[in-house]
Symmetry: C2
Subunit: 190 residues, 2 copies
DNA sequence: ACCTGAACACCGTTCAAGT
DNA sequence: ACCTGAACACCGTTCAAGT
């Protein structure tokens, strides 16, 4: 539906290229080694000096937030697409399952970034709010149809999903994760 | 009920004293600063050299596991005490709430230690198994009385509880944690 | 304006010397 | 048998010099 309204800061073409290379390397490192990414390795993989990484991402948090920005926008789009689905309950569950799959991909690092209090006004905070607003529509539809308890809060549900990923990182058993997810789904059911 | 059958390794009295001092300092550091304990600080607070800490706890994991051993034994005792309760469902919920409170105290570090795959045959692994066995009795009672779904697994439930603590560490709001806990409880209800 | 990497700081870990 | 802390290694972060 709506396209990503992320304001890209104006950068020289070569700087923009380095910026993107760093993000690609960071995402690869996160997918491979989880939360223990070594910034110097990320810079090396990206083919830039460590100073360049720091110039673009002054804090570790800045890098992590940007690394997860894209998939946050994607999850918002997915929620918006599911609004047209005739089955309110199934649409909500499908979206929550997507949340879990995305979080799993980024290991518990993705989950912790999503669960974290984001810097006020940061790109990720804006994107996360937009994503949650889109998810809220799915939730409210499922509440209106009587499928979900009225007092369920989307933030709580998302955190439960992220919590599953975090608690299972040391020994990720797909069957167990599925069962835990279903317990959460059962918990919000009216 | 049963007293802790932990086999204490034989140590010289002064070594035992250092061992205990290190654990006390480690627990204090964990309660204060969460997962980011600095081993050198722990050694200094304990009044021993860093080498002594490493002599007693060769790996970081060894120290963490020992730090949470005591409360694991306590949680086992609490489960055993609750077996006599006439209310099967209430007893189970009370015990799970205790789990969450204990995990909260140790921040997400405690939760992650509990959710982790423990070293085979370690003191913590043995204690964790005993604790879970005791909790299983509470769970099975609540299943026998028809309060809890038959296919619910204790490991899943404990991980969900630990997941709540982990996902909420960055911004621990007691009300939210309570609501999330109640969603999990609703999820296991028959 | 941006990039680089040497330099510094911090902390984890080991080990030779001491009791 | 145990303790100590200096020494080393690793990685995060800064900044002076260069393009």
């Amino acid at each position: 539906m709506s396209q990503a309204p992320v304001v890209k800061a104006l950068r020289r073409a070569d700087a923009q290229r380095n910026y993107d290379l760093i993000l690609v390397a960071a995402r690869a490192a996160i997918a491979e080694r989880g939360a223990h990414i070594v910034l110097e390795d990320v810079a090396r993989d990206a083919g830039v000096g460590i100073g360049t990484l720091y110039r673009h991402f002054p804090t570790r948090q800045d890098l992590l937030e940007e690394a997860f920005l894209e998939e946050t926008l994607l999850l918002r789009d997915r929620a918006e697409a599911l609004v047209d689905s005739p089955e309110a309950w199934e649409a909500l569950v499908a979206w929550l399952r997507l949340q879990m799959e995305f979080a799993s991909r980024g290991r518990s690092l993705g989950a912790s970034v999503m669960a974290a209090k984001h810097v006020e006004g940061s790109d990720l905070q804006v994107a996360y709010s937009a994503m949650r607003d889109a998810g809220d529509i799915l939730l409210h539809r499922a509440q209106a149809s009587g499928d979900v308890k009225d007092d369920v809060d989307m933030i709580d549900v998302l955190r439960l999903v992220y919590g599953i990923v975090m608690a299972c990182e040391q020994a990720p058993e797909p069957d167990r994760i599925t069962r835990m997810f279903e317990l959460v789904i059962a918990g919000i059911r009216a």
